[in-house]
Symmetry: D2
């Protein structure tokens, strides 16, 4: 499904359109939350919508890390410059740590 070498290297090409659609949906969710605040909607309902946006962002982040890990483990790192395994691990675990201890 990758259409170019450059894209293939990035690790999320196969579902790039899906990914963009999901991100646009989240952008819409955030705009919906702004509207709720403008209209003084009940704050528990606002928080519920925020949790939904968070869950959608988590899913995207985990999906991106999944692709990345697959590329790295297959020995086809997708970093802009070739990284050695130790640096790859540092980078990956920092990203995981930020997701866990957000």
């Amino acid at each position: 499904m990758a259409t170019s070498v450059t894209e293939a290297k990035r690790g999320y090409t196969a579902s790039k359109e899906q990914l963009l659609n999901r991100l646009r949906r989240i952008e819409g969710q955030v705009r919906g939350i702004e509207r709720m605040v403008e209209e003084d909607r009940y704050c528990i309902d606002v928080v519920t919508q925020i949790s939904a946006a968070q869950a959608a962002l988590d899913k995207i982040a985990l999906g991106l890390l999944d692709d990345h890990v697959r590329h790295c483990l297959a020995g086809m790192g997708d970093a802009p410059t070739p990284a050695e395994p130790g640096a790859q691990a540092d980078e990956l675990m920092s990203a995981v740590g930020r997701l866990v201890n957000r």
Copy 2:
């Protein structure tokens, strides 16, 4: 700081403009993430930006819950229809649960 009874009831009036500014900034962050995906940027960098948006959303959600809890404990519930303490607690703890176990 509240300018009307309706707004005062919602529990986040005092900082409504701040809240909207922060939400618009998050909307911009999500659009920035879309652009990164479009430009096939390195996925670890995309995940880092997602974590930043998540942290900003967490902060807003916790701020909203904080205002809400203050209103409820002061006996000035901000629910659209007056709620009895048990129902208020259910609602609040469901919201907290969704944030913790997103």
Copy 3:
């Protein structure tokens, strides 16, 4: 179900035995994790057990906060010294914040 005033004040009396049983089970889980490490078990399996202990601890923490919120909203604070609503809210939201951004 409370058997004394002191216990009733604490906010989790009704299920104190349940709570202790659950905590003892978690203590056992942690000991099981130690054993796994001693036996050089596969680290993904160790992490899976850690996640299970975390989920059990989350459940207990949310249950305690739930009881606490119910007491506070019913105007029967369970703090060791009577707290005014603002201080109660500070304390509650700090606890929630620590759970969310652990």
Copy 4:
């Protein structure tokens, strides 16, 4: 620092003693929480201790995953039976997912 092939394979040998010490400390924290419940201590204080135990468990889980990722990326998988990269990635990301969406 590894003293045997078996231990080296597990991916957390270098700090096995440290790891056990940290787990024993967490076991002690959980026992302390039980004691707090037995003594009807204020529930916000109990929740604070639970958060501390959670943070300590998170740190251990992230440390184990870190070692694991390093082994996998160095092409020295530490699975009990040799795994191909796709299966390794599935397993790793399931573990990360459980930590993020606990």
